[in-house]
């Protein structure tokens, strides 16, 4: 039950969000379609009496009298179109019908002005193009081969989503898996039967299995909903023809994901083993998470200016490297050389952190009441 609690909660949140969005859309449509009485002064001359008459609007001369009509309840709304409405705001004075319903007045004012301008232009394709931007298809080429544009970022970008999901779903558990051993005080008995390395590897493998179960528990209903109930739930069709499945970026994305996972697992297990309680570990966990997600705050630079110093530093500083490298790989601005250097840094740091985690676990797990200092950890005989 505890394993599935997170996916179930996530599913509930997503369902609630979807439901809220549907209800809100329906309410919005209702507001748009509601009728009310309107008076207009068209100082701009762009709307035109024919359009106003067709809309059932009363033509008024003088802004003050229009406003007075609203105040007295003679009309629901008075719209004043100033000279040069592109530079000066259209003014609407109306009866208060609630925060949400009041939106109908500005919608109506805009619609009338649009209708007036369209009528003056005489309609036709030119007017349609002005009203609705045309669809544009883009085909790009690199080294004579067609590339998929944004579609090339989707598949490698999934590793970023996966990394985020792993950290969110499992990060705290990785931390507490070792602090709980200390708090339970079982570890001394366990260490006579199993080595510290076996314990740590076992914990990581079990957490990975747990993560897979949780991800499957989220994905299965999504896939069932998409393939089985897409029309009922109003889910748009996903066009996968524009998505690229090129092996190099996917392979690099996978390698960065695994290296990042190794690094953060080692870090979180080490923190958990070094501190006496889960409460103390929480402070360090927060710092680790900030470092993981700091690259998102430099997203623009990472995507558009990979040669900037700050992007280079984040690409190779171990704690920010996973997210930065995955982002750069997804958008295609990560060179082969940088990939190689980045992967070496990730895996070497990850291996060192894992070794340190095992060492800390071995000594720290028996220190029930105090934190181990780094000097003590490194100098104690193992």
């Amino acid at each position: 039950m505890r394993t599935l609690s997170i996916p179930v909660l996530l599913a509930a949140v997503i369902a609630l969000s979807y439901f809220s969005s549907q209800v809100s859309n329906e309410a919005d449509q209702k507001v748009q379609q509601s009728q009310f009485s309107i008076a207009v002064e068209d100082a701009s001359g762009l709307v035109g009496p024919e359009v106003l008459r067709a809309a059932g609007a009363k033509i008024v001369v003088g802004k003050a009298s229009g406003i007075e009509m609203v105040k007295r309840g003679q009309v629901d709304a008075f719209v004043y179109y100033p000279v040069g409405p592109a530079q000066h705001a259209v003014e609407v004075y109306a009866k208060d019908d609630g925060i949400i319903n009041n939106a109908k007045y500005s919608a109506a004012a805009s619609a009338l002005l649009k209708a007036g301008v369209t009528a003056k232009l005489g309609g036709g394709e030119a007017v349609s193009l002005l009203q609705t931007p045309p669809d544009v298809s883009v085909v790009t080429y690199k080294d004579g081969q067609e590339t998929k544009g944004f579609g090339r970022a989707v598949a490698p970008g999934l590793f970023l989503v996966l990394f985020y999901a792993v950290i969110v779903l499992l990060g705290n558990q990785m931390l507490t898996s070792t602090t709980e051993e200390k708090e339970n005080r079982v570890i001394e008995m366990i260490l006579t039967s199993v080595t510290a390395r076996t314990i740590i590897v076992g914990k990581i493998l079990s957490l990975v299995g747990l993560g897979i179960i949780q991800i499957v528990a989220i994905l299965v209903p999504v896939l069932v909903g998409y393939f089985g109930f897409r029309e009922v739930l109003n889910i748009p069709v996903l066009d996968l023809s524009q998505v690229s499945f090129a092996p190099w970026p996917i392979g690099v994305g996978a390698a960065i994901f695994l290296g990042g996972f190794l690094l953060f697992t080692g870090l979180l297990v080490a923190i958990g083993a070094a501190v006496p309680t889960a409460k103390e570990a929480g402070g360090f966990f927060a710092v680790a998470m900030i470092l993981v997600f700091v690259p998102f705050y430099a997203l623009g630079a990472i995507v558009t200016s990979p040669d900037q110093l700050v992007v280079k530093v984040m690409s190779f500083f171990p704690l920010t490297a996973p997210i930065t490298l995955m982002l750069r790989n997804a958008v295609g601005n990560l060179s082969a050389g940088e990939t190689a250097v980045g992967l070496v840094i990730l895996y070497v740091t990850g291996a060192l952190l894992m070794a340190l985690a095992i060492r800390i676990f071995r000594f720290g797990s028996l220190e029930y009441a105090r934190k181990l200092g780094i000097r003590e950890i490194l100098t104690r005989r193992a």
Binding site: N184, R185, V186, I187, E188, M189, I190, L191, T192, S193, V194, T195, T198, R362, L366, Y368, E376, T379, R380, R381, A382
Partner: protein
Amino acid sequence: MSASPIVSIANFRMQFGDNVVIDDLSFEVNAGETFAFLGSNGSGKTTTIRTLLGIFEPTAGELLVKGRHYDPSMSAFLGYLPEERGLYKKESVLDTMLYFGELRWMSRPAARAWSLTYLERVGLADKAHVAIEKLSGGQQQKIQLGVTIMNDPELMILDEPTKGFDPVNRRLLMEIVEEHSRRGATVILVTHQMEEVERLCDRVILLKDGRRRLYGTVDEIRREYGEEVIDLEFNGQLPLKGRRYEAKLAGKRSAELVAADGCTPQQVLEELVGHHDLVITKFELRRSSLDDIFVNIYSEPTEVPVG
């Protein structure tokens, strides 16, 4: 009882930073014997045990179990009850016992059968599916003991096994330990309960200031370090020091007396009888207990710290 040592510790030294916890400790535990490991709090007993079991690495010296350095692959023959008690609080009693049984290479059916029989014996049969955290402290300790002995270990190391037990459960635990000992298991008992040592143990080692201070059979130690004590019960006034005796411990109606050098208990009795306001109701001779010896040893001045 076999004479070959199952545990052999030679020139063991343990230093944490500048703190020397153990300095040049050597002793052996023979297969099949019950061995007491004594010392005051902080004397290094638990550190020695942890180093013997490979949890710590020694600064110097050799600690061997069955002739080799201990590693977890030998866990099938070991039962270890550490001083720091702990079980997985959210797990049920039976699941916990099965887990530890399998860790020590028992088959699941064998572990289950043994666990249920043990729970019946210690009066916890109805708690098999209850979470550990719902048990009392004493009940949890019984589970912990069960987990320690369930693989019928050849070597049992019990660090303060009766800590927190009431007298009834303490006796039950000692009975269980004795049974295993009679079946040939070697038992290393780390304890402060001298009556358990005197009752169960074949040999004893006492640590003081990181070194071996006493080592030998219980009788040898009593003979060498003990003295004749007079248990006295009386009415009236007892002078605490006489010409032929000194009172080691004195209450309103009872005392322990030790004869002065060169004096016999008979002479002490004659002196006491001579006091007009003292009526003796009991006068009994005995050898000083291990407890007395322990207290005397620890009352000696502390040696200058080594290192």
